[in-house]
């Protein structure tokens, strides 16, 4: 397998091309770190303006989709300590959260002094979602570049449950701990538009409910939510414009009680299903579902190429697939 000499994208990645120096077309298209830093400054300012407008509007200034992993934990810490927001942390328990991650969530929310809500969708339905997602083509080619089918279904449910909860509770901001490689900085501060949400929900829910049944509709928005258009929040993902360094983040969140789990794969610090989701994706599509995200981080200078390479192509702890398969009943 050929791998880009600058980032870590492989020749099996959809649509990729290489020049005579072995540099991939994604690196060739990259506008450079200075252009990115300019965007970061612009969006941090946009975020600060928004924070100023969002304070004291209701019981909470901000809701965070809290997985218990390092990135959402760090985002929560920054929002609380640096911006002094009144936060409701919301965890969607997909049935595969590592025991250590649960302990981390409890310690961190206690130490930071934030309210924490855990929503646990029924496991028989979630299991069906994961199994059907792993076997069927329900997502676009572009979607499959960025994440496994299992992760995409899971995060789809997380996003819509979080949005409907924010609307119901009149929370003006939703924060996500997307890493700087997961979503562009230009989308890091954005008003949720009801019309666009209606269209994207139809595109997500349609294929999913066909596979697992209408019971999954419970996790998505209803007409009652769309009728509350003035309550639609802003989405923010601050790690896109803040300084990001994995080692420093782990050290900082260690001070508020977070400990690195030893039962997850190299690309997750909370989910026991991730290793299986990655394995299925690699076998079906020929590339690692995290390679796009990690390559983005390597290209933009927030992760060393060697560290990124190890995350994607390095050896994974043994036994993770067995644990996930057993819980899925495979």
């Amino acid at each position: 397998m050929k791998i880009c000499s600058r980032c870590i994208l492989p020749d099996t990645f959809p649509g990729i091309k290489f020049d005579e120096h072995g540099v991939c077309s994604h690196c060739a298209d990259f506008k450079g770190i200075e252009a990115l830093n300019e965007h970061k400054r612009e969006y941090e300012k946009k975020f600060l303006d928004l924070v100023g407008q969002s304070r004291e509007k209701g019981a909470y200034d901000c809701m965070i989709a809290y997985s218990g992993g390092k990135d959402s934990t760090y985002t929560l810490k920054v929002l609380k300590e640096r911006y002094n927001l009144r936060i409701l942390a919301l965890t969607i328990d997909n049935g595969f959260i590592s025991e250590r991650a649960f302990k981390n969530m409890c310690s961190v929310s206690e130490n930071l002094g934030v309210d924490h809500l855990i929503f646990r969708p029924r496991f028989d339905l979630m299991k069906k979602v994961f199994l059907k997602s792993s076997e069927n083509d329900i997502y676009s080619k572009k979607t499959l570049e960025r994440a496994s089918t299992i992760c995409t279904s899971c995060i789809g449910i997380v996003k819509f449950v979080t949005l409907k909860t924010a609307i119901e509770k009149s929370v003006p901001l939703i924060a996500y701990g997307w890493s700087p490689g997961q979503a562009p900085v230009q989308s890091s501060v954005m008003k949720v538009n009801p019309q666009l949400i209606r269209a994207t929900q139809a595109a997500t829910l349609g294929p999913l409910s066909k596979l697992v049944g209408d019971e999954v509709n419970a996790y998505f928005l209803t007409e009652d939510h769309f009728a509350l258009a003035d309550r639609f929040p802003h989405n923010v993902h601050p790690l896109a414009f803040l300084d990001y360094n994995e080692e420093r983040i782990i050290k900082e969140i260690g001070q508020i009680g977070w400990e690195e789990p030893d039962d997850t794969d190299s690309n997750s610090t909370n989910c026991l299903l991730n290793a299986y989701a990655n394995d299925v994706h690699i076998k079906r599509f020929g590339f690692h579902p995290y390679v796009w995200e990690i390559a983005n981080m390597v290209r933009s200078g927030v992760m060393d190429r060697e560290d990124g390479y190890k995350k994607i192509y390095g050896e994974q702890p043994s036994g993770l697939l067995t644990v996930a398969k057993k819980r899925l009943g495979i």
């Binding site: 997502y139 572009k142 989308s187 538009n193």
Partner: protein, 81 residues
């Protein structure tokens, strides 16, 4: 501009040589070509390529959800009001 937009969609969402066909009026979302994150990437591309600023209330399917709609939207944005 139409060709540039089509090129971007084919290169980034259909991967050029995949043999997919796309009419200018086809909805990206309904055809499963672009998802919600893809929409945000599309916005980033339009802002950079055409030097425009897309406001929050302009992020609607009527402006973004087909080649035809994109071409009309960019044309409107590029004309100073």
């Amino acid at each position: 501009m139409r060709d540039e937009v089509r090129d971007f969609i084919f290169k980034n969402f259909l991967f050029d040589d995949s043999g997919d066909s796309l009419n200018d009026s086809d909805s990206f979302l309904e055809k499963g070509i672009i998802d919600s994150t893809g929409m945000l990437e599309l916005v980033a591309f339009l802002e950079e390529k055409y030097g425009i600023r897309i406001e929050d209330d302009e992020l609607v399917p009527e402006n973004l959800d087909s080649v035809e709609r994109l071409v009309q939207f960019i044309s409107r944005k590029k004309v100073p009001s």
